[in-house]
């Protein structure tokens, strides 16, 4: 597909389409895309860890949830949104460090399982301290980013573009190259003089920062921090689907995957609960037959004989 040889025009096209959306998209779809954009940041952060550092994180919602709930709690204590977001992402980074430090010593399935345990602990924590966290119903926050669908959209779009810029830039930088080495072959990376643990920890913290920030922003968009919006296992599943679908290790594919997922969920709404079934089934088929995902397949290197 020679159309894709020059990516810049495509990116410019998408940016223009995205920025101008409030002009031609209805409020309903603006809302759908707003959620999709925040989801895109969740997914990109996950891809950084998975595709580059080579670590499967089954508990990204731990980082997202910590960021969201901290921001929410701070807001309920009367602190303004910007500081809440800062607090939320800082806590997420600290939480990420606490999780990663011991977890990175473990090999194989254990790392993924530790991350899953972290989510379960968070879930139980939320339910037990329901008085503070609002339990299963969730915690309302007094402030919101905006009441206008358009402004909310632009916040989300801007955040997505900046995050994509940073995360993608990292992935193609020297740091990204080193990270890929640590993910693909840790002994070779060490033999070349790289401290594997240090780099993986850094990747974890970056992933935590963006996840926590996105979680906070999502909370101030919907006015609610709850298990269903930021912590539940189904969100983890959706993130994994989005990344594998879009193409792991592409960072930008995660955005495509998220948009597809959220859109598909909306369009299949008439099916009721079965929309999750259909989406999961499609995702399962994709990972079996097209493991490289959409973008991965489109962008496959031409010199592969």
């Amino acid at each position: 597909m020679s159309l894709l040889r020059h990516r810049a025009p495509w990116i410019v096209l998408l940016l223009i389409a995205g920025a101008s959306a409030p002009g031609w998209m209805g409020a309903y779809f603006l809302g759908v895309f707003t959620t999709a954009y925040y989801f895109g940041v969740f997914a990109m952060s996950w891809d950084l860890l998975f595709g580059f550092a080579g670590e499967v994180n089954f508990g990204p919602t731990f980082l997202i949830g910590v960021g969201a709930y901290t921001a929410g709690l701070m807001n309920n204590a009367g602190i303004g949104i910007p500081l809440c977001l800062l607090g939320g992402s800082a806590t997420a980074v600290v939480g990420g460090l606490l999780l990663a430090l011991p977890a990175l010593r473990l090999r194989g399935p254990y790392f993924g399982l530790v991350t899953l345990v972290a989510v379960l602990l968070l879930l139980d924590f939320i339910v037990i301290f329901a008085g503070v966290t609002g339990g299963e119903i969730g915690m309302m926050v007094p402030d919101v980013l905006s009441v206008s669908a358009t402004i909310n959209y632009w916040y989300a779009f801007g955040f997505l573009v900046i995050s994509a810029f940073i995360l993608y830039g990292l992935s193609v930088s020297s740091v990204g190259l080193i990270l890929q080495a640590t993910g693909q072959d840790r002994i070779e990376a060490a033999a070349l003089g790289f401290n594997v643990t240090k780099h993986k920890l850094a990747a974890f913290c970056i992933s935590a920062l963006f996840s926590g920030l996105a979680g906070g922003l999502l909370t101030f968009y919907g006015g609610l921090a709850s298990v269903d919006t930021v912590v539940s296992l189904s969100i983890t599943v959706q993130i994994v689907i989005a990344v594998v679908f879009g193409g792991r290790r592409t960072i930008l594919g995660a955005i495509l995957g998220s948009i597809f997922l959220i859109l598909a969920g909306e369009l299949l709404r008439p099916l009721g609960q079965l929309n999750t079934f259909v989406v999961s089934a499609v995702a399962l088929a994709v990972i079996i037959f097209f493991p490289d995902g959409a973008l991965g397949w489109l962008l496959r290197p031409r010199d592969q004989a």
Partner: protein, 491 residues
């Protein structure tokens, strides 16, 4: 060349244990700048472990490793690398999704979390290095598309990029043509010219003799000889370890007349591991009742040949067994239908008892047959009878080998394939094993295909011998002729 007084790499009393096994025992040596030391030994001698200990991939249990006077034993690998040790692994380890240029650039990068862009000279230097090793034309290709020799060049490039004081090179010439070997020798010599120290690890003295200044020979974790390449090749202990001592042959009279029909026919078989050619146009045959030895050093291709016959690796060419082709048969089918392999790694069920291992071998037989076979084997290998209830993992090396062979024999194979049964075994055990094989040969119509590096073990019972070298059959004939023609020049 003037050599420095202080060695760049100074190793003393290096010891490493893996559970009960002492892999490296009190190894010491020194390599000066501008010098190449060859570390030689067969599989299981501990030479690769020594290399890993120096590089920090394994932690030594005792001993010291000094790099230009600084003690580095026990340091993490990346710190040792930054201090000035580089390694060229035996199996190429490129980043598959990155281009050649990116792979080399990686080796030039500092270990920083914050330098997002490499300094401008990095790209230029990477190109320089690529040209020097001969990769200038493939800078933008990715490793899966490159031929084997180019992947090895890439490994050399990475080492050059790091510009280490000490370079560790593992089996540098395996899988290369003679022209490529010459290129690589030059590159390694380049390190020496630049005043660096080189530790070359290999299992074959002959292949590195031209390049090294000195040689240290290892066996079962210990040093057995040191000196120039010539001195080591002529050393008594070394020859015994590699060749096993004086060569004896015991030709069987009754087989001369018979001739037998070809039970196993291997025709023009090729095997590739990725890019590396492991077997090239190999043809041989084994007649019913024969004992055929395939002799060759580590890496010659014996295991690959046996794995092709047993259906464990895909191959080009054809293999015929009892009238049919083995091409599309599963390994389990091949084992059930008469070809049973006792691999180099033995593949015992360590947690199960000796008896349970044997029983599993006999599960395809009817109960009375199984009991009869078991009784016969316990008589052939009395030590197994004694240790019936013990877990297989607690047996000594020699006992494990006997168990592996006995288990294979439980299947009543028509063709028994033995891959390096003497690996790492003490001479006393070799005697017992040799006797057992002798009895097997005399009392049963079994056909045996034996792959061995130890010529003294391989020859006495053989009816015919093939010599495998660098993936090809280079000689075939009977043992008497082998002793006459190949004996002295073999090592």
């Amino acid at each position: 060349m003037m050599l420095d007084a202080t060695p760049l790499l100074d190793v003393a009393g290096l010891t490493k244990r893996f559970g009960g096994l002492v892999a490296v025992r009190e190894i010491g040596f020194a390599v000066r700048g501008g010098e190449i030391l060859g570390l030689i030994g067969p599989n299981g001698s501990g030479k690769s472990t020594v290399m890993k200990l120096v590089m920090g991939i394994e932690r030594p249990d005792a001993g010291s490793v000094k790099l230009a006077g600084t003690e580095i034993a026990g340091w993490p690998t990346h710190r040792i690398a930054r201090e000035g040790v580089g390694i060229v692994f035996q199996h190429s380890r490129p980043l598959h999704r990155q281009t050649v240029l990116e792979n080399i650039k990686l080796a030039l990068l500092p270990d920083s979390l914050f330098r997002l862009a490499a300094e401008p000279h990095v790209e230029e230097r990477a190109r320089e290095i690529a040209d020097r090793v001969g990769l200038g034309a493939v800078l933008h290709r990715r490793p899966p598309t490159l031929p084997f020799a180019d992947l090895r060049r890439l490994e050399m490039a990475k080492a050059l990029a790091r510009n280490p004081k000490v370079v560790l090179v593992d089996e540098p010439f395996a899988g290369l043509t003679s022209a490529e070997v010459a290129d690589f020798s030059q590159l390694i010599d380049g390190f020496r010219q630049a005043g660096h120290a080189v530790l070359l690890v290999d299992h074959n003295v002959k292949s590195v003799a031209a390049l090294v200044d000195r040689v240290l020979a290892m066996y079962l974790g210990q040093r057995i000889a040191e000196g120039t390449a010539d001195e080591v090749m002529r050393d008594e202990t070394v020859r015994r370890v590699y060749l096993g001592g004086r060569i004896e042959t015991h030709p069987r009279k009754e087989l001369d007349a018979k001739g037998g029909e070809a039970l196993l026919e291997v025709r023009g078989v090729d095997v590739f591991y990725g890019k590396a050619r492991a077997l090239q146009e190999v043809s041989l045959h084994v007649n019913a009742g024969e004992f055929v030895s395939v002799v060759g050093l580590n890496g010659a291709g014996k295991t690959t040949l046996f794995n092709a016959i047993s259906g464990l690796v895909p191959f080009g060419g054809d293999i015929h067994w009892a009238g049919g082709s083995l091409r599309h048969r599963t390994p389990a089918w091949i084992a059930r239908n008469g070809i049973v392999q006792c691999p180099e790694t033995r593949e015992l069920f360590g947690d199960l008892s000796v008896r349970e291992n044997l029983d599993l071998g006999g599960q395809h037989l009817s109960r009375p047959d199984r009991e009869a076979q078991l009784a016969w084997l316990l008589e052939l290998f009395p030590i197994l009878n004694e240790r019936q209830r013990q877990p297989a993992a607690t047996l000594s090396g020699g006992e494990q080998q006997m168990l592996a062979i006995a288990r294979a024999l439980m299947m009543r194979p028509k063709l028994l394939i033995l891959d390096e049964p003497t690996l790492g075994l003490a001479p006393v055990i070799l005697e017992q094993l040799s006797k057992a094989l002798g009895r097997l040969r005399e009392t049963t119509p079994i056909t045996v295909l034996l792959g061995e590096q130890n010529v003294t073990f391989a020859l006495p019972h053989a009816d015919r011998v093939y010599v495998l070298e660098h993936a090809r059959i280079v000689w075939q004939g009977d043992p008497v002729r082998f002793a006459a023609e190949m004996g002295t020049g073999y090592l």
